[in-house]
Symmetry: C2
Subunit: 564 residues, 2 copies
């Protein structure tokens, strides 16, 4: 029996467009003799729909569209489609209003619906906000053309992420996988919308391979692909035979349609095409960010982008990502030198423009700085040049970029990295301006390594950008290291504090200076008000400063001072 993985790229809320994509994939699969097609979690509305789920009009439209789709599908193919389904017992039993469901569409009708059992409510996930967990083990039986019956267990994303033997702990009280194994299904399918993080595919494959082999049951995992605001879904759908080996893998960071054969004799999946994984983490992250930019622009209706080019490494990388995402001809880089800008800030930016083949504009801001100084002069009389003046430069640039964005309908990309965002080394309403913060989850040291990877064959990021000391150039002779610890140290502290939830004592124990650790902790806490107003930043780590980071601003918590 042929089973298809439809690795789709839905647009959130675009019920008609998403249904059309499912229909097209099903028609193509049916032509290839496919009996069952799998689509990702909530494939009809796209994941995550968030508070659209609070609109009954939205939920009703989805239900209507689902039934329409059932009637349009080719008769010979059954399709699993992700949809939100009202919970009829919500108010009588005091339950949540919806289920996160997967509908089995066949023969023009909705035949059966399965409910997600484990609802992630951590990091970027808020499923308890909307959904009641399903309480039943989900399975159905499908007949092949040769009248052979296959018993298929259905799981939705998180349902497969509670295998105690693999994790060494339980994340939820029940394990749907155990229930399905007890039931003795022939095959387990998993319909997912699993956001990308660095190297996550290796973890997924280790976990799923472990489960397939432990329960001696083949598993097909289908993931959504595409960028949805801050989240990037990497696809990488993958199938395992009952010994836990990968027998099929769909593309990373692209839509795909894969057909797998379930062998009726051996009751196992047969090997087929296995798309390779990216060779390095740098390549993987770059591809993820390219997809994130491309989809955010497309799904918001932009075909061109604009960004400021400082000649520094952050804006250089973002320009390279943008050029790859939507074409160099659609990228406008704006050089905005001030009297404090170094000579190389211009020549490096110009070299980058040339290397990438993007468009550029030069708008020197010296006169505008003087105009602000003139206007504010009487009020600021007797004060020293400081943060206010530095930030004004950054904000002038932010205004110019937004004027261009508003005038020509270009999406403004902001270029700050995660290290800056963590410690607040960025200007609110200045360089933080943008519709999308492309590398807001990429630490500075990683920005460097990605740029070195980009240059592996030829110079794309001008070499001087890679070797000069990072500087905001907001006052004469300024370099980042005047205000911050070296990035190797800063990034290690940030990694420990943010990703590993280490205490200050643990970070000090790892070899960092107590004074430096204290300073960094204070900077992180004090920059919360900036992060609150940041544009969505593409998430590539397991803890980004986005929808999964929920910190109070008016707060006085600081970890106790560590000592040596």
């Amino acid at each position: 029996m042929k089973i298809a993985i439809a690795q789709l790229n839905p647009t959130i809320g675009d019920l008609s467009g998403n249904a059309k994509n499912i229909l097209e994939a099903a028609r193509k699969a049916a032509k290839e003799g496919v009996r069952l097609m799998l689509t990702p979690e909530l494939s009809l509305c796209g994941y995550p729909p968030r508070d659209l789920l609070l609109s009954s009009e939205f939920v009703e439209s989805m239900s209507k569209k689902l039934h329409e789709l059932a009637q349009q599908l080719p008769t010979q193919i059954a399709v699993l489609v992700g949809t939100a389904e009202p919970n009829p017992y919500a108010t009588s039993k005091g339950q949540k209003p919806l289920f996160n469901g997967t509908a089995l569409l066949e023969g023009g009708k909705l035949q059966k619906i399965f409910y997600k059992r484990l609802l992630p409510t951590y990091d970027v996930f808020d499923e308890d906000r909307y959904f009641e967990p399903g309480y039943q083990t989900n399975s159905f039986t499908i007949k092949s053309d040769s009248q052979f019956k296959i018993h298929i267990g259905v799981t939705i994303c998180e349902d497969l992420w509670n295998e105690e033997e693999f994790w060494g702990k339980r994340n939820y009280e029940i394990n749907p996988l155990e229930d399905l194994a007890e039931l003795g299904v022939d095959l387990i399918v998993n319909l997912s919308a699993s956001p990308y993080t660095v190297s996550k595919q290796k973890l997924r494959e280790a976990m799923l391979g472990h489960s397939a082999s432990r329960y001696q049951t083949p598993i097909i995992y289908v993931n959504q692909i595409g960028g949805n605001d801050d989240l990037i879904f990497d696809g990488n759908s993958v199938a395992f035979n009952r010994t836990g080996n990968v027998v099929c893998r769909a593309k990373a960071f692209a839509s795909d349609l894969k057909i797998i054969e379930f062998d009726e004799q051996t009751k196992d999946l047969l090997p087929t095409a296995i798309a390779p994984l990216p060779a390095t983490e740098e390549e993987e992250i770059f591809s993820a960010l390219v997809l994130g930019v491309r989809d955010y622009a497309r799904k918001c209706g932009f075909s061109q982008v604009v960004l400021g080019l400082s000649g520094g490494i952050d804006s250089s990388l973002v320009a390279a990502i943008a050029a790859e995402a939507i074409g160099a001809e659609n990228v406008l880089g704006v050089l905005m030198p001030s009297p404090y800008s170094s000579e190389h800030s211009i020549t490096d930016a110009e070299a980058l423009v040339k290397n990438l083949g993007i468009k550029s504009q030069k708008l020197p801001i010296g006169d505008l700085m003087k105009s602000y100084d003139r206007l504010l002069g009487p009020l600021f009389a007797g004060t020293e040049f400081g943060i206010a003046e530095e930030n004004t430069q950054s904000r002038i640039r932010g205004n110019l970029l937004m004027a261009i964005s508003n005038k020509f309908g270009h999406l403004l990309l902001s270029t700050g990295n995660k290290s800056e965002m963590a410690v607040g080394y960025c200007t609110l309403y200045g360089d933080m301006n943008g519709g999308l913060a492309v590398i807001a989850d990429v630490p500075k040291t990683r920005v460097f390594s990605i740029c070195r990877w980009l240059n592996r064959n030829r110079e794309i990021i001008p070499n001087n950008v890679l070797i000069k000391p990072p500087s905001a150039e907001l006052k004469p002779g300024q370099v980042d290291q005047d205000s911050l610890p070296p990035y190797e140290i800063l990034d290690d502290i940030l990694e420990r504090a943010i990703h590993h939830h280490q205490s200050t004592a643990q970070i000090v124990k790892a070899g960092h200076e107590p004074a430096v650790v204290n300073k960094v902790m204070k900077l992180i806490a004090r920059a919360e008000f900036k992060r609150k107003q940041a544009p969505p930043g593409l998430k590539i780590t397991d803890r980004a400063f986005g929808t999964g980071w929920r910190m109070p601003i008016a707060s006085r918590w600081l970890p106790p001072n560590p000592s040596n």
Copy 2:
């Protein structure tokens, strides 16, 4: 037996400061012969601590502080203190890592700890993200000086919000109130952190009075007070006798310590001082916003604020709120007229400054506008004056205000109202700039009614501000109604769509033009990117554009077009 309500104003994460406030209240209460003191939900760390709860260092510090506090308390008084408590079974049972608890401190020790059973996970609440629900009915027995024993049922906030008979539906499967009634407790206490919304106190009192009388059990409800980012906690702690009548009410919008007598003969609470409720919704909202501004400023370490004064009604109201919150002498209003500004925009703003007694500065922006035009001229050649030019004016003003904020350490208050925020009639990085959006949850029609209430005794908001047509004055002769439906109509549509989740068909049925409804729906959806980057806005309704509003940006959902 004397029982005290300590209506406290904690700062999130300030464990030492919060513990000190609890200790001071307990010492004061003990002197008055109080046997038991009640404090609000999570009183030790403040509510909501959000992702601080993910730091084990934070949770450990809290536990340490709790035990310290137990030892410091006067011996004759027992105190219920809110704290987050690690769940020892988290990883073995697959449960959440913490409980939302209330600790009974007495005799120098932690005697007992009670866990919250109903965990709100909707709107601004994310409790399933952190907490495992408690599974046990919570009660303890306390002896009075006369050796009389009182059996007290303990509930935490949401635990009392699932009375089916009152709501006409269940919100959760269990009802802790029923369990306590079955147990036959003498008194139920409810330790809350219940955020303010307009008229919510009436709802609370109706619900709690109903429960007291239904179960023939007196109830003491203790609420937190204070502003924490977007949330305002109104206090209004209140006690009911067993017939469901209010016998005591603490202040609204202020810290308070109330002492109530539990009569050992009648096993009921005796009447004592009942603080009055605000006379009008306008007074109530004004008081809430004053507290929100005062606490946000104080808890973030600001003693002065700055805001732009356009001569319009929004900035006038915000200035009045700020003056009340932190003193007129600490408020700086900045007038930034452009060549498009009307004469009255200046004279009205000056009249306001005089009426309030605040400080002011005038910074005309004409020269800066010319500087931007000059710089952008070649790039914009051949284009019409439009949104780009309009927004640049707003952004120049935003820059000037931020320069003043950065230079003098003033908190910048933004002045946009909810109607504007809903439809995107505001400039990102312009008039949206600020650390706190004071009236972002107040619809324009309500802005007018609050200003009329403010003027009830004498003119505070200049009369001309109340009667002239609202205008952004970003081009000659512009008024808001060129772009938007009249505010009475707009606000009614917004109320239906946002608060009542009405479908477009329902809104049209209520008498609105289909074309207008469609337009408003589109505007709401398209402004999501602006709201994403807005400062925290003080919440006064049950659906604000803040932490409780979680919408996708790159989304294509629009309700189906309604027809007549």
